[in-house]
């Protein structure tokens, strides 16, 4: 192979992206910021799918799963943002620390 781009390059990139997304989800207090972190995590998962599909053989299963992930990410974003807008109408804020009326 000799210095070309290997599977590990893509896995490392995906790892970095996942870590950043996870940090975003854990540390943000803005609900939309948390949703952005989720999008980063889903993108990193997709990079993994496509990298395994590319380096692992001739089948297209990885690409098809990536398309399903993109579809579910779209549904997640739509529902998540609708919930965020409803929270904003009721609480006048989307800070997830301020919306704790479910805590006992």
């Amino acid at each position: 192979m000799g210095g070309g781009i290997t599977l590990y390059h893509f896995l490392t990139l995906s790892l970095i992206l996942f870590s950043l997304g996870m940090y975003c989800v854990l540390s943000r207090r803005n609900a939309i910021g948390i949703l952005m972190g989720v999008e980063l995590i889903l993108n990193s998962a997709n990079i993994n799918y496509l990298a395994f599909s590319f380096y692992g053989g001739h089948r297209y299963d990885g690409q098809i799963f990536a398309i399903f992930v993109i579809m579910l990410a779209a549904a997640e974003a739509v529902i998540g943002l609708a919930v965020v807008l409803t929270i904003y109408q009721n609480f006048k804020t989307i800070d997830v620390d301020a919306t704790e009326s479910l805590s006992g």
Binding site: I5, L15, Y23, L26, M36, G37, N46, G56, M71
Partner: protein
């Protein structure tokens, strides 16, 4: 045997440029204190990922990513940001709290994943994947082997559509 995409010097340069764009934009998303900057940085992250997909010979997935993420999710996110923040109070709108516990969790989880990535003997094919158009094969798979998940996906999208309308409408019945 065709050479793999990713063997030439040009491919390496392109990979590192795309990776830098993706990681830089993602860091901006994760660390920026302004939610509007975060949202616009998400554009760079998504575009970098599109380039990575093309480098991985997934042209159809790359175009789907471009249409759905950049054309759909990003615009939707921007709308939500503008509707919930207002234009005036965007200066410190993306507060980060619990930075140290978050960093510790991320470092521990990342360490586990680094171990998993570099200690697993990944099964790799030694032949190059053809880098021609993938649309034909993907379409055949969707209407053949994967027809049931494909139909369930359309139901999921319909449910999401109706659910979003029900959740976000203004006049709710008592």
């Amino acid at each position: 045997m065709r050479p793999r995409a990713g063997q030439g010097v040009v491919a390496q340069v392109v990979f590192y440029l795309l990776a830098a764009l993706t990681v830089g934009s993602s860091m901006m998303v994760a660390f920026s204190r302004n939610i509007v900057y975060s949202t616009f940085s998400l554009l760079g992250a998504f575009m970098g990922v599109v380039g990575i997909y093309i480098l991985l010979a997934a042209d159809f997935v790359a175009m789907v990513q471009l249409l759905v993420y950049v054309g759909g999710i990003l615009v939707l996110t921007l709308f939500a940001v503008m509707l919930t923040q207002g234009i005036a109070d965007v200066t410190v709108s993306n507060r980060a709290v619990g930075v140290v516990p978050s960093l510790i969790t991320v470092i521990v989880a990342g360490g586990v994943m680094v171990f998993a990535v570099f200690h697993t003997p990944w099964q790799q094919s030694h032949e190059a994947m053809t880098s021609g158009p993938t649309t034909y094969a993907i379409g055949n798979a969707f209407l053949g082997e994967y027809v049931l998940p494909f139909e369930v996906a359309s139901l999921v999208l319909l449910a999401a559509l109706i659910g979003a309308i029900v959740i976000s409408r203004q006049d709710r019945p008592a």
